[in-house]
Amino acid sequence: MDTIHDMGGMHGFGRVEEEANEPVFHADWERRVFAMVSAVPFAALFGDDQFRPAIERIPPERYLSISYYEKWLDALTSLLVDRGWVTEAELADPASVPVAPRHPKAALPSDVVPAIWAGASQSRPGVAVLRRFQLGDAVVTKRQGSPGHTRLPRYARGKAGCIIKAHGAFLVADRNSIGDQTPEMLYTVAFDARELWGPEARSRDSLTLDLWDRYLDPA
């Protein structure tokens, strides 16, 4: 889905402001949203590959108007509404919602913290997958996106690059986002900056992306 989130290579968004001594959270509610997004999947299972598309579906005007953790909250809310865990009526009138008994799978703080640090690996080291490319192979990325979630940004489509690492089998975000957990070989591909940005880029600069086999063709 090539929505407003896919900003790589776009102009006009202004300078990236670097914040000195940036705090982890800018407000207490951000800490709460972080905790909710970490804890809710224990009961209402979702992962990054469902969470990211939910962020990408935020209407563009709203997407540009809200902060990082507001996007998290929007995405969490939409996932819970889609799955029937929360209704629009409850969101409109939270005071009307009776306090539910503790869900049997509800996470304890002692579960959540180690889970946050461990992360959810998308790696599937035991699974044999096709490896079409070797280190040093010249490849070209697919020219087109897809109607669903993808991790191949617009600026890197139809571009020539070089395989510099093969990571092994990983779940494919595009497919995992719709429930297909068939893993595929993941590579790191290096692109010359000039290939991506044109002759004004510096000749020695390069950019690397981790890309699945399905995004690549032999050059």
Partner: protein, 222 residues
């Protein structure tokens, strides 16, 4: 400049709402804005390429919240400010300063000239570029891969794509160069793209998109 305006091929902006053509303007000020923009373009030294460039430079969030004629207003104000006709202070309600001395006196638009200008556009000499056209109808060519930081009329979705020349249109002032303040003529072509090249295998086979593109955007097929 690949700003927020370059939405071709992007998703998530919702349905295009069709309106009957008879709607005309949605508000009285839209009509005034339309008329003002015509008079200003007739009378002062900037044109559509400059207004477009100014609209493209609007902050993205503001751009998405602004209606069509609000964008026209923003673009025209930016162009008027750039040539010194209006200032921030005047826009904020301060006293109106005289026009800059360096600016040639504006050409007033008589009422009977308005219709001819609106429907006929601005007649202008279109000198030929110094070199002959590189392409002719039927040529299989491709578009260049990269945009520019300035104004361009080659949208992102049509870059680095194979295409075919349908018609050679003659010489036109290159919008990119004009917006940058150094107008020069360039050959222009009507060029067709297969929808499947632009949008992928889900597009309807046989559908095509045609764009009028300058030679600066085109190169021979590899």
């Amino acid at each position: 400049m690949d700003g927020i305006h370059d939405m071709g091929g992007m998703q998530g902006f919702g349905e295009v709402v069709d309106e009957p053509e008879t709607m005309g303007f949605h508000a009285d000020w839209h009509g005034r804005m339309f008329a003002l923009s015509r008079v200003v373009r007739y009378s002062l030294p900037f044109g559509g390429d400059h207004v477009r460039q100014a609209i493209e430079r609007m902050a993205p969030r503001h751009y998405l919240r602004s209606s069509y004629y609000e964008k026209w207003l923003e673009g025209n104000i930016a162009c008027l400010a750039a040539i010194g006709v209006v200032s921030e202070a005047e826009l904020a309600g301060g006293p109106v300063a005289p026009l800059p001395a360096a600016l040639a006196p504006p050409r007033p638009m008589a009422a009977d000239a308005a219709a001819a200008f609106i429907f006929g556009g601005m007649a202008g000499a279109r000198p030929s570029p110094p070199t002959p056209p590189r392409f002719k109808a039927g040529d299989r060519i491709r578009t260049i891969a990269h945009g520019t930081a300035g104004h361009t009329r080659l949208p992102r979705y049509a870059r680095n794509q194979p295409c075919r020349v349908e018609t050679a249109l003659g010489s036109y002032i290159l919008a990119d160069a004009n917006a940058a303040g150094a107008p020069r003529p360039d050959w222009c072509y009507r060029v067709a793209f297969a929808a499947c090249d632009l949008w992928g295998p889900e597009a309807v086979v046989g559908d095509s998109v045609t764009l009028d593109l300058w030679e600066s955007y085109l190169e021979p097929a590899a």
